[in-house]
Every structure is written in C-alpha cells, then in structure tokens.
Symmetry: C2
Subunit: 485 residues, 2 copies
C-alpha cells in the first residue's frame, strides 16, 4: 500500500510539471519526455533553463552591492555613478537573458554538448558586470569597452554554434520548426538576428579605437532597428512577441530572493561584534553591544517584508496572467530594477541620524522606489488588460469578479508609498515614525485586503447607492463556495 | 498547414487530459485546475515553493562569505571556527528546508493567507545563520542560543498555524489526506512531529539558563528518536521517505548558482582599481594595473567551471533518477556543503605565493573538496541503485546501456581529484601546474566522455577479449538512432 501511494505522489508531481508548461508551444513536452525515456542523449531543457535563470538573476543584482557599501555622506558623485552602473548592468544583463529565452524557445531539447556550451555562455555573461564597472570607473580608457565587446562577441559566437548544432540535429528543435519545410530559412533568420549584436560590437570596438562617442551612438541606433513583421513566431521585433512565462517567473523569483537576503549577507558578515570589543567597551554585556546594531536589524526585517510582499503581488499577478509578452517583460525588468534598490534605501533610512535632513531624504527615496516598483507591476497588468482575451484568465477580465481585488492588490503599494511621501513632506519631523507605521501596516493590510475591499465597496455603495457593487461582491464570494462543495 | 500542426498538438494534449481522468488522483489535479480557473482564492503552490527554495539556498551558502573573506595566513583558529559555523549553518538550514518540503507535501494548494504566513516563516529562517554566528563568536554567552531557540520556536508555531489552517480548509490538502476518513489522526500526528523541535528548543532554552552542555546532549538525543513505522506516507522517519524531486533540484540549482557567482561578487566589488592609484602607481596603464588581479580572474573562471561541471553531473544524475529519498537528500546536502567551500579553496590556490608550502596545501585542499563533492554525488547514485526498480529510469539499471556512461560521468571528478592529489604529493614543486592542467582538461574530458568511454571499452575488450563489451557498445548507440528515426 505504501509503495503504491508513493508512486502516485511522484506521478502527481510529473503531472504538475506538465501543467506548468501551459504555453501553446510547450505542449509537446510529452514527446520530449519520450526522448528521455528512450535514452539520455536528449534531455528536457527545463532544469538547464532554471539554473541559467538563477545565475543571471544573481548577476543582474550583483552591482547593487558596491552601491550598498558606499556610505551616503561620503561621496555623492561616486554614489550616483555606481547607481548608474547598477541600472545599466541590470538592463544589459536582462537583454542577454531575453536573448537566452528566445534562443531556448527555438531549441527545446538539449544534450550534453549543448549543456556544456550553455555553461560556457553563462560564464561570459556573469563576467559582463565587471567589464561594465571598469567602463564606469575609467571612462577615458577603452579597455573596458574592448573587454565588454569581446565578451559580447564570444557570447554571440557560442549562441551561433548552439543554433548550428541545434539545426544539425533537428530533434532538438521546437516541433513547429521541426515540422516546417523551410528550416533553412529559419536558421538563417535566427543566425542573422543573433549575430547582429556581436558584429555591431566588433565594429564598435574597431570604431572605439578611432573615435569614442560613435560607439555609444551606433549601439543605441543599432539595437532599435525595426524589422518588417514576418510570419515568424520567434525573433520578431514586436512588443507582443510571447516570452516564456515560466522563465519570467523564475528570473523574477531569483531577483526577489537575492534582494530580500542582501541585507542579511552584510549583517552576517559585519554585525557580529568582536569578542575583545565587547569585553572592553561593553563590559561583557552582549545585549548592549548588539543594541548598537538595532537599526540594521530593523532595516533587514523592513526590506525583507517589503520585498516579500512585492513578490507576493507579482505572484498573484502572474497567477492571473496566462501569457507574458516582451512589453510586459520590459515593465517587469523596470520593476525589478527598482526592487534591487530597496535594501539600499532601507539601509539609508535607518543609518541617518534621527530628525536630520538626510533621514527625510532617505525615507522619501524609499517611498519613490516602492512607488515605481509597484507602478511598473500595475503597468504589466494594464498591458495584459489591453489584450485580455489572450493574456488574462477569464475571471479577471475587466469587470470580472476578481478584477477589483487584483487591482486593489496591485495599487496598494503605489498608493501607500505616494501617501507616505506626501505625509513626510508635511510632517517632516515625524518622517521615520510615519515610515515605520507604513512598514507595520502594509502586511496587515494585505492579510485583511479582501475584507477591507468589501467594506470599501459597501461604503461606496452606501455613498452612491450604485447598483454595481453588490454584483461584484456576490461574484467574489462565488469561487470559494464552488471549491468547498 | 501551420495551424493544422498546432491543432494536432492540442489534440495530443487533450488525449493526455483524458488519460489523467482515468486515474483517481489525477482527477483531483483537474479539479485543482478548475479551482484556479474558477477563482484565485486557491492557487497551485509551485511558485511559492520555488521562491522559498531560492531564499533558503541563498541563506545556506551565506556563511561561506565570512570564511572566504578571512585571510588564510591571518588566523588559523578563526578560520576553522568560521568553517565549522558554515558547515553547521548549512546543515541546520537544510534541516529547516526538509521540514518545509514535508509540510508542503501535505498542503498542496495555497491561498493568500498561507503565502503570507510562509513569507513570515522564511524571514525567520533567513535570520538563523546570524544567531549561529553569534553562538560561535560568543560560546560563553547564552544570548545566541536563546535567539536561535526563539527563532525555531516561532518557526514551529507558524508551521503549526499553517497546518491548522490547512486542515480547516481541506481543499488545500494533499488529495490522499483529503479523501481519508481519519483526518484528525493525520493532523495530530503532523502537529506532534512539527511541534517536537520547538518544544525541545523551549526546554533547551530553559535548561541553558541552568546548565550549558545539557542543551547539546538533549538536542542530539532528541533529534534521533526512532519512531515505530506506521502507515503514514508523510512524516515518517525512514531514510526511504520520498522528498519532492523538483524541490531537491531547485534547491541544488540555487546553491550551485550562488556558489558559482560567489567570486565574481567579490571581483566586482574589490578588484576595480581606484583611478588615482592607476594614475600614480601604474602611470595610467590600466592593463598593467589589472594584471595584478590576474590570479583572481583565474580563480573565478576555474571555480565557475568546476561548479558548473559539478552541476552538470548533478543534472545528468537527476535526469536518470525518478525519485528522491531522504537518504539521497542527505548525501546531496553533504555534496552541496563541500561545493560551497570550492570558491574559497580556489581563491587560496591562487593567493598563495608560488612554490610555497601554503600553495601546495591549498591545491590539496581543493582536491579534497572536489573529491568529496563528487563522491557524495556518486553515493546518491549508489543509493538509487539499491532500489533501482523504483528510483531509476529503466535504461540506467545495472548493466543497462547508459549505466556505464553515467558511472563514468559521476566518477570522473573524484578520480581526477584523487589523481591530482597524489601527483601533487610527489611532484610538489609543480602542484599549481598540475592543478591548472586538471582545470583545462576536465571540461574537454566531459565533452569527449562518450568517445573516450567507447575507446576505453574497446581497449578493455581488446585486452581481455571479453564478450560483454560489444553488447554495451551497441546498446549505447541505440537510443540516438531511436530518436533520429
């Protein structure tokens, strides 16, 4: 009996995995699985992709560390350079990640050679942030640019090899391409798109020997060339091109997880007092010694809670969204880039002396970051609403029963951040107190959101005697009773 | 024509769904899906689990950072304390993670409240390493122990609340428990198991006021109590209790990803030279300034490649394994704990002055770490072989066609590490050269492994004129041709 149960559990898990691949052209995961059972030379690619997502999300958030370790009062120009480097790295690494998604939407099965080639590609991608910080520190030296270009060129070459390898073994490819008669056309188109960036970089690195600013201009122009739309479902330049939803989720999870733990990394390393110091200065009273780190702990718990709740909102959003497009991916990247700044902002908030001008600024910066992180999440929902038939579950369609609740979840953080910002402008003396109240209030608000929303709707109905509210109310109660029965 | 293909794929998918309807429990996963479509109050839990895995894997590897930042020559006693703290934290966080897996094998669907409760639980788990390093730094102060116990107690209470909440809404539970008549028995058993550790901690913290060493003894004894085996598939104490394979993979991916990027974190932060220094000391020659960091880059690429290839072996292993048990999970933890030390070992290798005694030691430490990391991976395979009918895909069964290849993959690293270790003992003057040759040779060996293995088999056949080799050879060629046709 026990054995039987166990195998059932495993089957169930497999099942779940199948369910995860809901996007239309992952359907052939069945044939994919047959490949595995037949022999291990071809393998499903999902774990390779999960590992790549984890690596890229770590690398994208790495450059926030130098920012976080710069003292606020020390050097404002240096801080702003570092923030710029962080944002640029984040965007460039995300671009590399998007290219990676598109590549592995074409190549759906892997074998050992592809896995090793992909690891080589990852190694170079993880080196990009360093070249970028060289560029920023030595703007007058072309070495940083050359290193960056060399990395991009080699990454492009490896990806081209991956494409050529994939097309030479068509059973690795996406089934749609596999079934198509003009595979060669696909191959050439994909190679052309992949090699455009490395070739541009090659020219750029040649140019950079001659004249600097040209490089930047050619890059900006080159990256944005619009193609005439063709019948290809991959490698188009349209904002509605689908991106693998699972990978957007995996990447976001990685970023949220690292950002949430950024402060504890520092705390574990720096905030354990030296035994000798405790003996001399605090008379062996460890609690007194630890009290001096109080603000750091507060900052850690505050930032963990905020990042965790933003992840929670993101999670709810992606439960309701059935398809991720490139435009939504772009907004997601912007949102994540702001999230990356959160721990820094929180640290600043608790570092500055009480009641100082810096403290007010730090609190306001935190509010602005939270506001934009939330706003871009909301923007994703709005984008999904524009094509609601394809991109949203039926029950969150405009006017649908869960629509209001979702909207309330998404707008809670932007609204509260905006409110806190203006309150701190007026009551500048109590800025930290207001901020702390926000920190404590928001988790409670999320827990009670459904209740609060119902109260608000009832209040609105009472105020305007409108007819719409009771309908929504009824609907939002429906699904629960559906499941219970 | 293209549309036709797609509809065929969809039909294929429908087929799959029909199949699901036949088995009793797949029915539930269908209703589960309906539940999601009907309203978002219940949600599949896979993304919550993925996020938790990411958080826990980061936290488990955090404590290697203080180790990596300790200079080797500085203080050997401090270094060994830190390594001990790292290993203990890794194990304790992994225990917390195992408890988390078991909990969410019982509760299979979540809602908003559970998601928020889980985030609170995660926040406390991420705080555990800090309490641990307090304990290690101040062994004579009970504050660290008290904090640790407080965390564990609160984590236990939150998990108990999660269980109570889950059993009060049975549609969130595992279908097997949902269908069972004695839910109350299950509930009490699970609560008992969950609350045992917190209650033990409560007693421990009371004891610790009175007498210290008692705590440690009670913990060791308490954790190992063997239960009489009962009919429960969850919360047993048997080494063969299944652990969710996806989550073991996700956790391992997280650890490998963080360990692979540990060195680039440091490089990005510390190894960008100051512009003023370059101007003064290197006469504005950036390349010369960067050359002094040469060993760091080498260490980074070396450790990335090694960690990446160990991930690759792990990935191949888990492709062939159909089920993860607690014993395999334990070996996996040991393997990962050694992997976490790799970047440190590599850094030591490239930091020590050439030809010194320290350099030889560092190279040998690296070899030992690689050896054990690989050995525990091999141990997982051996454990799986013991119950090969359940735990392995049919084609890797003992004597099966892929069995030899898998074994070669798994034993490559331990063998090479052992070989390098003994060579460096003999040729101690050339230890670094040997080590570098190993670094370059191993990726090539992996690429050509199938070819090398075939050559080796042919050589053995030639040597012993045995009859078995050609059979294996034929088999190992079979699957590829199967897929091509």
């Amino acid at each position: 009996m026990e054995e039987n149960d166990e195998s059932e559990i495993i089957e169930h898990h497999d099942d779940e995995e199948m369910e995860k691949r809901r996007t239309p052209w992952r359907n052939h995961s069945l044939s994919d699985k047959e490949g595995v059972n037949g022999g291990c030379s071809t393998q499903p690619s999902h774990r390779l992709l999960a590992y790549s997502d984890a690596l890229i999300s770590i690398i994208a958030t790495v450059m926030i560390l130098p920012v976080a370790h710069t003292k606020f009062q020390e050097d404002e120009a240096l801080l702003s350079t570092k923030i710029a480097v962080y944002l640029m790295t984040f965007l460039i690494v995300t671009v590399a990640w998007t290219a990676h998604i598109r590549l592995f939407q074409v190549i759906e099965r892997i074998d050992d050679t592809l896995a090793l080639l992909n690891l080589a590609c990852m190694m170079l991608i993880t080196f990009l942030p360093y070249t970028f910080s060289l560029m920023a520190t030595f703007p007058n030296n072309i070495l940083g640019i050359l290193l960056f270009c060399a990395c991009v060129i080699v990454i492009g070459l490896i990806q081209a090899v991956i494409v050529l390898y994939g097309f030479s073994r068509p059973f690795l490819l996406n089934d749609q391409i596999q079934a198509s008669v003009n595979q060669d056309y696909y191959k050439q188109h994909i190679l052309k798109v992949i090699m455009r960036v490395p070739i541009m970089c090659l020219f750029a690195s040649i140019f950079s020997f001659i004249f600097f600013p040209l490089w930047i201009r050619s890059k900006v122009l080159g990256g944005r060339i619009e193609e005439s739309p063709d019948s290809m479902p991959f490698y188009t330049y349209q904002p509605s091109e689908p991106l693998s939803k699972e990978r957007v989720e995996a990447f976001s999870d990685g970023v949220y997880a690292i950002v949430a733990t950024l402060l504890i990394l520092d705390i574990c390393e720096d905030n354990v007092p030296q035994p000798s110091v405790v003996r001399k200065e605090f008379n062996n009273n460890l609690i007194a010694a630890l009290q001096s780190y109080g603000p750091e702990y507060l900052a850690y718990f505050g930032s963990f809670a905020t990042v965790g709740l933003l992840w929670f909102v993101h999670h709810s959003l992606f439960l309701n969204v059935t398809k991720a497009t490139r435009l939504m991916g772009l907004f997601n990247t912007f949102s994540l880039a702001f999230v990356g700044g959160l721990p820094l902002a929180y640290q600043l908030t608790h570092e500055s002396p009480r009641g100082s001008r810096n403290e007010l600024e730090a609190v306001q910066i935190s509010c602005v970051i939270i506001f934009f992180a939330g706003l871009f999440q909301l923007a994703m929902f709005v984008v999904a609403l524009f094509t609601e038939r394809e991109a949203l579950h039926p029950y969150v369609h405009y006017g649908g029963c869960e629509h209001t609740f979702m909207l309330a979840k998404l707008s809670l953080y932007p609204c509260v951040a905006l409110g806190t910002f203006f309150i701190t402008c007026i009551l500048s003396r109590f800025s930290t107190a207001v901020f702390h109240m926000m920190e404590i209030g928001i988790p409670v608000a999320f827990l009670l959101l459904r209740l609060l929303l119902r109260l608000a709707l009832a209040f609105l109905r009472w105020l305007f005697c409108s007819e719409r509210a009771p309908v929504e109310d009824e609907h939002s109660r429906l699904p629960i009773s559906d499941i219970v029965t």
